[in-house]
């Protein structure tokens, strides 16, 4: 029974590791602000794909690791990812049956909430000004989501994960 056996965990862990690396990979100059929030997108993918197995705890722990990796305030990304995962879980029944373009719009909205929380904590703990560049990751998330879905759907099909 696949529901009790459940999906294997290593594809999820591997994809999160790749996403973590992409979060800090050096990008040339101007491109650095356009980095899609890879870790948030990958986590949301797994939460939407297996809402019973992966949930808030996954989002929270992934966010905490990202906080340490980026050297920010502990809990900043953890908070943002928890809220984003919660929204995804809350609406997962609808999100999963959306056509891909509609799904992309919805996920981008979740990422916008995520980015706002990150920015908000930045503002509370230091100096942060609202400049248009702050919205760049949210816009980049549109492309990022299509890439994440394309790659991970294919991975799951190949591994015959239900």
């Amino acid at each position: 029974v696949s529901a009790t056996a459940g999906p294997r965990n290593w594809p999820m862990l591997l994809s999160l590791l790749v996403a973590l690396s992409l979060e800090v990979t050096p990008l040339p100059g101007e491109l650095a602000i356009w980095r899609p929030p890879w870790l948030a997108l990958t986590t949301l993918y797994w939460v939407l794909a297996y809402p019973r197995r992966y949930g808030l705890a996954l989002g929270w722990s992934a966010g905490l690791v990202l906080d340490v990796l980026k050297g920010g305030v502990l809990g900043q990304h953890a908070l943002a990812m928890t809220v984003a995962s919660w929204l995804a879980l809350r609406f997962h029944l609808r999100l999963r049956v959306f056509p891909i373009w509609q799904q992309t719009v919805a996920v981008t909205a979740l990422i916008a909430v995520h980015q706002f929380l990150v920015f908000w904590v930045d503002g509370l703990t230091g100096e942060a000004e609202m400049v248009w560049q702050r919205t760049a990751p949210t816009i980049a998330a549109i492309l990022g989501w299509l890439i994440v879905v394309g790659l991970l759907d294919r991975l799951r099909r190949q591994l015959r994960m239900s």
Partner: protein
């Protein structure tokens, strides 16, 4: 997420705490983490454990650029290497010649200071650290280093490169460290003007090519082209290292302070290697492999002088 998995829908009856409860719990946990971490740095042990776990990711991400460097070394032509080698040897000779004078000046300085009964200047020990090719946050000027506690790096340690002061260490993990650049908006560097000794503070402006000197009155004796060196006040940086060169002086009669900007002399966003500075030589620290340390022309008697100095 196209292939639906009908077996993995939300269960009809939820076991354990409800989704809302878990959300509230995790949000509260995150907020308390932030408060503890930001205000009191209580979470050093947690962070250090996690930092060791994520250090491999930083190294992994850094690997491509290190690999390209290695490949370029392997593939570069022999005569180019020979030329480079010759140039470096010439430069080394010139530097050594200047160091010989330096030795004499150093001795003279020590003698004069002795006459004036002022404490001798301490010798600095340095070690080369690599900046990992890792982007931490585009809105904060931080860098990740490949030397940590094991190499004796400590909190607040000064970083310089060949041209000037780069920044200081803000976090030390067992294997790596993080540092803040002098161009970060939350960083202030105590400086003095090399020409006349006028002391002030240089603040980062969030731009690697500019730092500001907001506390200079309109009547201050400062000109475009003046070199700013570290004043050594505040004990963050050793005195006398170049910091920046003044690029702009706006005297605004209506305002209490002039607008002065300077360009950091260090290659803040281009350097790949930095030097970590220890203000005095401590016993028991690992030996240095940096080329800057093996200068046998340097008078090493300073080391004995500083051996009993507390840090």
């Amino acid at each position: 997420v196209s292939p639906l998995s009908p077996t993995d829908n939300k269960p009809l009856f939820v076991r354990g705490p409800s989704l809302g409860t878990r959300l509230v719990l995790l949000v509260l946990l995150s907020v308390s983490l932030m408060v503890l971490d930001h205000q009191q740095n209580h979470l050093e042990t947690v962070r250090r454990a996690l930092a060791v776990a994520v250090y491999p990711i930083r190294v992994l991400v850094d690997m491509p650029s290190t690999g390209f460097g290695w490949l370029r070394e392997q593939l570069s032509e022999r005569n180019r290497l020979v030329t480079e080698n010759r140039e470096l040897r010439g430069e080394s000779l010139r530097q050594r010649a200047r160091l010989q004078q330096m030795a004499a000046l150093d001795a003279e300085n020590a003698r004069l200071r002795g006459l004036m009964d002022s404490p001798a200047r301490l010798a600095n020990r340095v070690q080369v650290a690599e900046i990992l090719a890792v982007d931490l946050d585009p809105y904060r000027h931080r860098i990740a280093l490949n030397r940590g506690e094991q190499a004796g790096v400590y909190l607040g340690q000064a970083l310089v490169d060949a041209q000037g002061i780069v920044g200081q260490v803000t976090r030390v993990d067992p294997l790596g460290a993080e540092a803040i650049l002098i161009s970060d908006p939350s960083h202030a560097t105590p400086v003095e003007i090399n020409r006349n000794g006028l002391r002030t503070v240089a603040l980062g402006m969030g731009d690697v090519s500019r730092i500001g000197l907001p506390f200079l009155p309109n009547s201050a004796d400062i000109r475009v082209g003046d070199l700013l060196v570290s004043s050594g006040l505040g004990d963050a940086f050793p005195a006398g290292y170049p910091v920046a060169r003044v690029t702009r002086v706006d005297r605004r009669p209506g305002e209490p302070f002039a607008r002065v900007e300077a360009e950091p002399t260090a290659a803040l966003n281009r350097a790949r290697q930095v030097l970590l500075i220890w203000p005095s030589v401590e016993a028991g620290l690992p030996q240095v492999e940096s080329p800057a340390e093996d200068g046998d022309e340097l008078p090493q008697d300073d080391d004995e002088l500083t051996q009993e100095e507390p840090t």
